[in-house]
Every structure is written in structure tokens, then in C-alpha cells.
């Protein structure tokens, strides 16, 4: 194991984060506050309670997940796309590092950043509504698993993308709709049964449901299923990354 290489890549990526620290923290804090003002105040005044918790409280786990998902993908895809774009990838490819180490470095840094972000959003939410976390360890487990899984997913997108449009396309066209329709702002049980069935095809539902369960012990689907789906998606992403490196897809011609 070339630990020093992992450390070098990880710290290099984190340094990029610190350079843009203000925008990486300020913007999610501002947007979270806006969600609370808009959804919490406007809608929350009509929907007073969802499954026993106030609406403002109910949406917190979904909001955190929303940011963690999008930020993980954005960080990781950009992190690997950029060296490809400017050509500095030559050094990584010519270094005595295994693909596994490259992934640990890039994905680790992207996941770290989005976990920190998720916690900051959680703290911001705590300023607006009272929070109670029933299962803090499960909460962290879901947070970390999701951050890692979607950072891997972002890594794949970053390698696949050969232009900035493609880099934006998947997050815009696929991930954002899925997260909004994934039960961030409502309980799946509130939907008519036809829609419910369709919604259950959305993988994000399972992530948010499990995450919300760790807070309030209320869930749309069973916790085991949530965990299973998360791990399944993680495994799928790992298999994909393994294939990419094995074939040199879009990295070595």
C-alpha cells in the first residue's frame, strides 16, 4: 500500500476545499436557511405534523441528504475531471499507485468534504427547529455510507465526462430530480398508492428513509431494506470503478 500517495492525493484535494472554503460552506448554509424559510414557514404552516413530528423537523434529514448527495457527486466528479481536463492526470497515471489508492484518495476527500457539509447543515437546521437524534451512530453510518457511495458515483461521472456539459448533465437531469422526488420534503406514505409504487423504484427514497429513521424512528421502508439498498448501490459503484481502471476507460487510450 502506498500510504504516502493516498495521503498526498487526499491532502491535495482537501487543500482545494480549504481554498474555496467560504463558498463551500456559505452557500449550503444559505440555501438550507432558505429551505426552512420557504418550506418550513410556508408549507409548514399548513402541514403541521408528519407522522408525529413537526414538518420543519421532518424535512431536516432529507435536506441534509439532498446536500450530501449533490455535493458528493459534484466534489468527486470535479476532483477527477479537472486533472483529466488540464492534463495533470499524467502524473497520477505514471506514479507507483494502484487504482485502489487513487480512488481512496479522491473519493475519501470528496466524501470527507460532504460529510463536513452535512454536519454543518444539520447544525444550521438546529437553529431553526428542535432536533433529536435517536440513533446517532446509525445516523453517522448512513451519512458516511451515502457520502462514500455518491462520491464513487461522482468519480465515475468525472471519468466518463469528456466535457463540462456532461459533467453537469447527470447531476442535473438524474440526481436532482431523484432527490427531490425521493421523499426529502414529504413522506412516501402521503402519496396515492400508484405513485407510491413508482417512488419505491427511486433509490434515493431508501437513503432518505433510513437516514430519517436514525433521527425519529419513522421510516417509509424498513431500515434493513434502506441499509441493503445503500450497500447495494455502493457495491455497484465499486464494481463500475473497478471495471474503469481495469480497462483504462477514458484514462489511457
Amino acid at each position: 500500500m502506498n500510504w504516502r500517495a493516498i495521503q498526498a492525493i487526499y491532502l491535495f484535494e482537501m487543500a482545494r476545499t480549504w481554498r474555496t472554503l467560504l463558498q463551500s460552506i456559505v452557500s449550503p448554509v444559505v440555501s438550507t436557511s432558505l429551505y426552512f424559510v420557504v418550506f418550513g414557514a410556508a408549507i409548514g404552516s399548513r402541514i403541521t405534523e408528519v407522522e408525529g413530528v413537526s414538518y420543519g423537523t421532518f424535512i431536516v434529514p432529507g435536506l441534509v441528504m439532498l446536500s450530501v448527495l449533490t455535493q458528493s457527486i459534484a466534489n468527486a466528479s470535479f476532483g477527477i475531471y479537472f486533472p483529466k481536463f488540464v492534463g495533470t492526470i499524467y502524473e497520477i497515471l505514471s506514479a507507483p499507485v494502484s487504482y485502489f489508492e487513487i480512488v481512496v484518495g479522491y473519493v475519501g476527500a470528496a466524501a470527507t468534504k460532504s460529510i463536513i457539509l452535512g454536519l454543518i447543515i444539520l447544525a444550521t437546521a438546529g437553529l431553526f427547529v428542535p432536533l433529536h437524534i435517536h440513533h446517532p451512530w446509525w445516523m453517522l453510518t448512513f451519512l458516511v455510507l451515502t457520502a462514500v457511495t455518491f462520491s464513487l458515483f461522482g468519480f465515475i461521472i468525472g471519468i466518463w465526462a469528456d466535457g463540462f456539459e456532461k459533467l453537469q448533465m447527470i447531476p442535473m437531469l438524474v440526481v436532482t430530480p431523484l432527490t427531490f422526488l425521493g421523499g426529502s420534503f414529504y413522506s412516501v406514505n402521503m402519496l396515492p398508492s400508484g405513485w407510491r409504487t413508482i417512488t419505491l423504484l427511486n433509490p434515493v427514497v431508501y437513503l432518505i428513509s433510513g437516514f430519517r429513521w436514525s433521527f425519529y424512528e419513522i421510516a417509509d421502508v424498513s431500515v434493513a431494506l434502506s441499509l441493503g439498498m445503500t450497500l447495494g448501490f455502493l457495491a455497484a459503484c465499486m464494481a463500475m470503478v473497478w471495471w474503469i481502471f481495469r480497462t483504462g476507460y477514458r484514462l489511457k487510450n
Partner: protein
């Protein structure tokens, strides 16, 4: 001398179907400076990229220090420092950080003293805290050399290291390369400046259209393929070369006051003796003469043209 890099039957076909390397066989000796020459698109960068792990080979094999570049890539790559042809830098990093990063990437423990030495050798010390984006092109190229040297490689690839570097710094770079060679580093460089190969290299390889057409000691190459030019100064101006001398393919110069004769040093006979007597028979008298060795550039151009 033992070989430190051994390339056998290496071919590369790009995804587009283009065959950039065609059955390359090449051995690089430990401690030598090897210059790879060839016209644009010959496959120099592709060959270097394959050895360094950036390009997947289509067939054939390469060992570096006895380690296969695929099955034992860690050991192979740890020996190599690569300075690519294009300027690829992290614009917003400082020189110091980017060079230190390279060292870590290659698995070496921190060593600020070594990095300091490298930066000083490359006249970059006063720029160590500058962001790379604020440097000139020549400085960026030296940053890339510093990155390659940061992890103390035993083999250094320089893909057109002096493109865009001014004359004085180019001399400085040659100095660095020589010092490295004295320290036992093997150096493979590509260049379009023939005088650079002539000045630096121990051996020269010529590649065109993905094939190595020649590998030779520099001195041997110059001798083997060297053409010489004999210039004869005449006592009296002549208007034309007498027809009797036509087979020598002579040229008039300096308004008829000089005759030049090109001959092959590797030929059995140079033809000089008979030329001189034929000249005398034709009544042409000589006041002085001079010979001149053709440069590597001439050799190179004629080789590439032939293939």
C-alpha cells in the same frame, strides 16, 4: 553496461485504429543519456507514455530495472521521473506544494532539503511560494522537471525538455542533466534541437512512423554516416566546372573562386586523390583547402527522408 530499460516487440494501436508504434525493440543502458529523435508524429511521446504507464500497450512488453511495467508496475514506476512534452500544471498550487506533492505521490517520505536543492538547481528557489499560474512558460517547464526530480528517480524521461526555454536556461538545464548523469541517473530525452542531442547524448535513436530505424553511439553515428565537404580555394577564378570533372558532382562557390566536393567518410575511398590529380590535369590550381564534417542534423534529415 547492463540495460535498465528493455522494450521488446512493443506495438501500440490507438483506439482510432492508428498504429503509433510498430514492433519496437530498444534497450537503454544504465547511466547513459539517450536521445530519441524523430519528426513530428513519429511516436516518441507514445513510446515514452507506454513505458511510464500513461498509454496501455497493445502488444509486447517492457521492463524497467528488471520489473515488468504491468505486473510489477510499482517497482518499475518508482524508478522513473517523467517530464511530459505538454505543460500540465496545477495553476493555483504553489511551486513548493506541487513539487512536494509529487514526492508524496511516489511514496517517498518528506525531505524539504532535497526539494530545496532541486528548486535551487533549476533556478526556481525564489519562486517557491508563487502560484504556478503566475510563472512564465519556461519556468513552468522547470517546475515540471522539479516535480520529476522530487522523488529521486533513477531514470529520467525528458520529452522535449527545452522547448520554449531560453538559451541561457537551456545551458543550465544541460548542466543539471549532466550532474544527474554523474550521479548515476539514466536519461532519455527527445528533442527537435539536433545540436542538443549532439551536445548531450551518448547514444541516439531515430524513430519515424512508429519504427526505430536506427540506434547508434553518437560518435559512431557521426562517423558512420558522416558526410564531409572538401572546399578548394582556387588560384584563378573559373567560369564553369570542366566537363571532364562532371562525375565528381562538384559545385562552384564564391563566384568561381571555390570548388566544393561532398564525399562519404564511410566509403572505401573518398575519391580525393583522383579528384586532385584530375583537377591538375584540367589545369585548375589550388591555393588552399579545407574539410568540414556534416552535422548530426544533416544525417538525421537524410535518414528520415530515406525511410
Amino acid at each position: 553496461m547492463s540495460s535498465v530499460i528493455s522494450v521488446s516487440n512493443l506495438s501500440k494501436v490507438y483506439g482510432s485504429g492508428f498504429k503509433a508504434l510498430n514492433n519496437i525493440n530498444l534497450d537503454i543502458k544504465r547511466g547513459e543519456i539517450f536521445a530519441l529523435l524523430g519528426p513530428n508524429g513519429a511516436g516518441k511521446t507514445t513510446l515514452i507514455g507506454t513505458i511510464c504507464g500513461i498509454v496501455n500497450p497493445t502488444s509486447g512488453s517492457v521492463t524497467v530495472g528488471g520489473h515488468d511495467i504491468i505486473s510489477d508496475f510499482r517497482a518499475a514506476r518508482a524508478m522513473i521521473g517523467l517530464v511530459p512534452q505538454e505543460l500540465h500544471t496545477d495553476s493555483f498550487e504553489t511551486v513548493w506544494n506541487t513539487v512536494s506533492f509529487s514526492r508524496g505521490l511516489f511514496g517517498k517520505p518528506k525531505n524539504p532539503a532535497h526539494i530545496e536543492k532541486v528548486l535551487k538547481d533549476l533556478s526556481l528557489w525564489d519562486k517557491k511560494d508563487s502560484q504556478i499560474i503566475t510563472l512564465s512558460g519556461g519556468m513552468k517547464r522547470r517546475v515540471m522537471i522539479a516535480k520529476a526530480l522530487s522523488h529521486e528517480p533513477q531514470i529520467l524521461f525528458l520529452d522535449e525538455p527545452t522547448a520554449g526555454v531560453d538559451v541561457e536556461l537551456r545551458k543550465g538545464m544541460w548542466e543539471v542533466v549532466r550532474t544527474l548523469q554523474q550521479a548515476g541517473v539514466t536519461i532519455i530525452l527527445t528533442t527537435h534541437y539536433i545540436e542538443e542531442a549532439e551536445e548531450m547524448a551518448d547514444r541516439i535513436g531515430v524513430i519515424t512512423k512508429g519504427e526505430i530505424i536506427l540506434v547508434e553511439d553518437k560518435a559512431g553515428l557521426m562517423q558512420q554516416l558522416g558526410k564531409k565537404r572538401l572546399t578548394l580555394q582556387l588560384q584563378h577564378k573559373v567560369d564553369a566546372i570542366p566537363p571532364a570533372l562532371a562525375p565528381y558532382n562538384l559545385h562552384l562557390a564564391d563566384g568561381g573562386r571555390e570548388i566544393t566536393y561532398d564525399y562519404d567518410t564511410k566509403g572505401e575511398r573518398t575519391g580525393i586523390t583522383s579528384l586532385l590529380s584530375d583537377l591538375r590535369n584540367a589545369g585548375i590550381r589550388i591555393s588552399d583547402l579545407d574539410t568540414e564534417q556534416s552535422s548530426l542534423e544533416d544525417i538525421f534529415v537524410s535518414l528520415v527522408r530515406k525511410s
